[in-house]
């Protein structure tokens, strides 16, 4: 599949592509249909939301990436209350690509947004698939972080070395980095 092949057209990876979760799932199942669909879909999956988030809050942020057709809140299938995810359906494909490029990882109401391209909403997907009716990943426990797909955090330039994988040894320090990642309080004071 074209998506999985390196074509050297860009100097860094594009963000407007399906996540490694979707790719691995497709490879493992040898079923690329959903992956193809997600590339041309107007829908994005948004995860790691607070249960108190509203459509209006999501609208205010996601409208910045394109006109929205619909927002479908993910619901706990037993309690029918929001359970931390939603689908944003744009009017144009470009909207969903913009959302994944620009909004993934930004904060809405205190939460880091998880965004992934989605093959398209079908009725029933708005309900959580967890044992207790909520979102499976959030019910999982066992320290599984980051909701749904459990991505790692900041890749950390503190140690600097990005690794060229050839084992030259003798790293001289300073490669692409200076200082660690600080998560201290922001202060707009000059």
């Amino acid at each position: 599949m074209e998506l999985l092949e390196e074509n050297y057209d860009h100097s860094v990876e594009r963000l407007d592509r399906p996540s490694s979760y979707l790719i691995k799932k497709a490879v493992r199942r040898q079923n690329f249909e959903n992956l193809e669909k997600s590339l041309h879909s107007k829908t994005v999956y948004v995860g790691n939301l607070t249960n108190l988030i509203t459509e209006e809050q999501l609208y205010e942020l996601f409208i910045k990436c394109g006109k929205i057709e619909k927002i479908i809140m993910g619901l706990d299938r037993n309690k029918l209350i929001p359970c931390g995810f939603c689908f944003v359906i744009y009017k144009e494909e470009q909207g969903s690509l913009n959302a994944i490029k620009y909004l993934k990882g930004t904060i809405l109401d205190g939460q880091n947004l998880e965004i992934d391209l989605d093959p398209g909403f079908v009725e029933g997907r708005q309900f959580g698939r967890g044992v207790y009716g909520g979102q499976a990943s959030q019910e999982g426990g066992n320290g599984f972080k980051g909701g749904y797909r459990g991505r790692g955090g900041f890749r950390g330039r503190g140690n600097g070395f990005r690794g060229r994988g050839r084992g030259r040894g003798g790293y001289n320090g300073g490669f692409r980095g200076r200082g660690g990642f600080s998560n201290g309080p922001r202060d707009f004071e000059s």
Binding site: S11, S20, Q57, Y102, G152, G177, R186
Partner: protein, 857 residues
């Protein structure tokens, strides 16, 4: 737990990793190394790394086609997408040249053919690339000066300069771009080469270009408001600045001195080279350019930055320079690279932010103060420089200031990308290095806030949007205490830009979060008592209501033809809502839907119809029967029945779907055909998806009646969601998209609103711009322009003059601010919508717009 069973959700699954094909692995490693080239802080290590990277390239380049192709494509991508790396990439090519000159020959030919292909594609009418890409390739080729035949680069640069001079009369924007691009590339020839006077001829030739081109006032961010205020002088005109700023020895100081580090490696490689023991130089022919094609060429992509004479903003002005002085080549040099990086790497904002965080590493290490150096510390450095304590003087240039200043210009001047892209890159920068960036943002916020009175409407809105998104990512923390006194002083104003800014900023924050959270953010810590101080001054902005309860009472009483009982009932209900409303009351609970109150006239009929609408799968026929019944049951002859019924219907749909905006839109979509029929829209076959479906009788509403119905629909939605403007405009946008409403009525409603919604409410403005953008034909723009001027003229007639005097009453001053905002809005539409779309624009408006286009900044 380490040997856990693999799961489908596992992000990484190493257990099944297959052995990679050695060629694929080699290509992967080499290209990865090229992409990350020069990201180290130590020059000697970087050069060693580059030499190491070059080894597999020079050995396998001719043997492995995949490697050759991948290396060339990767070099091309790095040069275009990460232009700050051109010098360090050129070092790789030069080292390769010493080891195997065929590699560099291929590389130079590859880049040459890229440019030539672009010009061929222009001839064929389907451009592949843009002139900005040509610029970055030229920069790269200039860096390769030591291995390009003598005179070849001169000829190429001369060719471009001549093209720009010849093109000046026929295609000024393109001519300006080519002229600037060529000159900005010129000093790159000395990046890795010694300075000579060989290129002085080009500077002489460049003088033939008329670069004395003024910025037009209409395209700048500031407005003196009829000379009431002094506009800050913050513009650097790129065309005027570029030629006089080129001073080769000064320019050379910008680049890293790789030569001394590179020479031993090159000499050693040449000694080992069996084919050539001297550096081989390569040909670089001139390009085949068709000047006639260029005359007609319209700027596309990033080139569109040149659709108007370009300028850079300089907002960080201290007693000492924190960015290179505006009239210098250094200023243009860095901002040019940052602009290209930001635009060309748009598909990965995280990487853009990472590259910006190490931006200084690609240039001479003495140029910038260490990243994140506070301004106070820079002031000390400056003091020591002046006192002669630092010999040589240390730099006070602050990389973050330079980056943020460039972003502000990109965000606020007809942004090429969606503004959210620029916002989120800055957010990522700030999250990666909060101590470096937060104070720089703070200074930018303060600069624009201080200049709110002279900012034009569009820039004010964009500043507000940026600040809202920015602080929403950082717990809504802001030094609210700085604004308390301003807010108090502007209590009696409605349209003062500062008050309008604060109000709209807070309402935007509420929309991104909720009232309680935002209310809780209006605090500061009293350093003396260590206790929290709440700023109650800002609580007035927590309400989003467009109207007060008097409006609701008047509206509903009028709907029921002045019925006294309804008046008392609505008054009572409004009071109850007011008494029980808090910051945590949901919009649904704030809604006042009167038709489900048992004391309202015709209550039983409303209830029956409400229950009918609540049910799913109601057919058109059932709806027709119930609607006709309801028509018959409303017997009060004093009522304006068509208006009454459509208001009832729309508000009932809003109430049923009040759970959320898309819940409302969903129910409106469900009954779209029914709604169209009730609104007097002529139904088409496509409105009846089922062939056997009941068809509504033809609508007999006249065009005038249809206009009335549409206005009633708009009014009904304004009334029912008057406490939540966001709902109003999303629903109205949806009805325009569904062809139930005519967009021009929506514009009229907002322009004629006594509250001047189009200028006073950012939700309204943003929504109407979206509506406008989605309408293919733009005669509506000319209507809008006429209405804006009429509105401004009417207010102007009240206030006589636009000169603001201290003796003016507040009400008069307020109206003058309103006039300025309407004029600014006029400018917005003039500058953002193509004139060919509005060819039917009335003559007086055309004259005003032409005049605005002539005024110099």
């Amino acid at each position: 737990m380490e040997n856990k069973r693999p799961r489908e959700d596992d992000e990484f699954d190493d257990s099944k990793r297959q052995h990679q094909d050695p060629v694929v692995e080699l290509v992967g490693n080499v290209t990865k190394d090229i992409r990350r080239i020069g990201e180290g802080a130590q020059i000697n290590t970087t050069v060693d790394d580059i030499s190491y990277i070059s080894n597999p390239i020079v050995v396998e380049f001719e043997k492995i086609d995949e490697l050759r192709s991948a290396v060339l494509k990767t070099l091309g991508a790095v040069v275009l997408e990460q232009p700050m790396k051109v010098q360090v990439v050129s070092v790789l090519v030069m080292i390769c040249n010493a080891k195997n000159f065929l590699v560099s020959k291929y590389v130079i030919e590859y880049f040459h053919s890229k440019v030539q292909d672009f010009f061929h594609s222009l001839d064929q009418g389907s451009p592949k690339g843009c002139f900005n890409d040509v610029k970055n390739i030229l920069k790269f080729l200039c860096c390769l000066s030591p291995i390009i035949e003598d005179g070849a680069l001169y000829n190429v640069l001369q060719q471009f300069l001549k093209v720009s001079i010849d093109l000046q009369a026929s295609n000024p924007p393109l001519a300006q771009e080519i002229y600037y691009n060529t000159l900005i590339c010129l000093p790159y020839v000395f990046a890795n080469d010694d300075i000579t006077d060989k290129y002085d001829g080009l500077l002489t030739l460049a003088k033939e270009f008329d670069s004395n081109i003024s910025l037009k006032s209409v395209y700048t961010h500031f407005d003196s408001k009829s000379n009431n205020f002094q506009v800050p002088d913050i513009y650097v005109n790129l065309l005027e600045t570029i030629l006089p700023s080129i001073d080769f020895p000064e320019c050379k100081k910008l680049f890293i001195d790789f030569k001394s580090h590179m020479e031993p490696i090159i000499n050693e490689s040449l000694q080992r080279n069996k084919i050539s023991s001297t550096m081989v130089k390569h040909a670089l022919p001139q390009f085949a350019i068709n000047p006639d094609v260029l005359k007609e060429h319209k700027l596309i992509g990033i080139d569109q930055l040149w659709s108007q004479p370009r300028f850079f903003l300089t907002i960080y002005k201290q007693d000492f320079p924190t960015v290179p002085e505006g009239k210098t080549y250094s200023h243009l040099f860095f901002k040019d690279v940052i602009c290209d990086l930001v635009h060309n790497l748009e598909f990965n904002r995280n990487e853009t932010a990472v590259q910006l965080s190490i931006f200084d590493l690609y240039f001479n290490s003495d140029l910038f103060a260490p990243p994140g150096t506070p301004v106070d510390r820079l002031a000390d450095i400056h003091k020591d420089n002046v006192n002669g304590e630092n010999i040589p003087p240390l730099s006070t240039w602050k990389m973050e200031d330079l980056i943020v200043e460039t972003f502000l210009q990109l965000m606020f001047t007809k942004p090429l990308r969606l503004p959210i892209y620029y916002y989120t890159v800055l957010i990522t920068c700030c999250r990666n290095n909060p101590d470096w960036y937060a104070p720089v943002f703070g200074r930018a916020f303060r600069f624009f806030y201080k200049n709110l009175e002279v900012l034009n409407y569009e820039t004010r809105l964009r500043f507000m949007d940026w600040m809202a998104v920015q602080i929403s990512n950082f717990e809504f923390s802001w030094k609210w205490d700085e604004w308390v006194e301003d807010s108090k002083a502007l209590t009696d104003y409605s349209y003062h830009p500062t008050k309008s800014f604060i109000k709209n900023l807070i309402s935007k924050e509420i929309k991104l979060s909720n009232k309680k959270r935002i209310k809780d953010s209006f605090v500061t810590l009293d350093p003396q008592t260590d206790s929290l101080v709440h700023f109650e001054e800002f609580h007035q902005y927590l309400t989003l209501n467009l109207e007060d309860s008097d409006y609701i009472i008047d509206f509903d009483t009028k709907l029921f033809a002045g019925n006294e009982e309804v008046n008392s009932l609505v008054t009572k209900l409004c009071q109850e809502k007011k008494d029980t409303s808090t910051v945590v009351t949901s919009p649904q609970n704030e809604m006042l839907y009167i038709f489900n109150d048992s004391n309202i006239p015709f209550y039983p009929f409303f209830q029956k119809f409400y229950k009918f609408l609540m049910g799913h799968n109601r057919t058109n026929e059932q709806f027709f029967q119930h609607w006709t019944e309801l028509n018959d049951e409303i017997t009060d002859e004093s009522l304006n029945k068509p208006s009454f019924l459509i208001t009832y219907l729309i508000q009932t749909y809003c109430n049923i779907g009040n759970r959320s905006i898309y819940s409302t839109n969903g129910i409106l979509d469900r009954d779209l055909t029914k709604l169209k029929w009730c609104s007097g829209v002529e139904l088409q076959d496509s409105d009846y998806p089922k062939t056997e479906e009941f068809r509504f009788p033809p609508n007999t509403a006249s065009p005038e009646q249809r206009l009335v119905i549409q206005n009633d629909i708009i009014d009904a939605i304004f009334r029912i969601w008057s406490h939540q403007p966001q709902f109003i405009f999303v629903i109205l946008e949806h009805l325009v998209d569904s062809s139930i409403l005519d967009a021009s009525l929506l514009f009229t409603k907002c322009l004629e609103s006594p509250k001047n919604l189009l200028v006073s409410n950012s939700t309204c403005f943003e929504s109407l711009v979206r509506v406008l953008d989605s309408i293919p034909s733009k005669p509506i723009v000319s209507e809008l322009l006429v209405k804006i001027i009429e509105k401004a003229s009417a207010i102007l007639a009240d206030v006589q003059t636009t000169q603001i005097s201290d003796s003016d009453e507040i009400e008069i001053k307020d109206k003058k601010w309103l006039v300025f905002d309407y004029l600014s809005l006029f400018k917005y539409f003039i500058t953002n919508y193509e004139f060919e779309f509005i060819s039917d624009i009335p003559e007086p408006i055309k004259e005003v717009s032409e005049w605005l286009n002539q005024v110099n900044a």
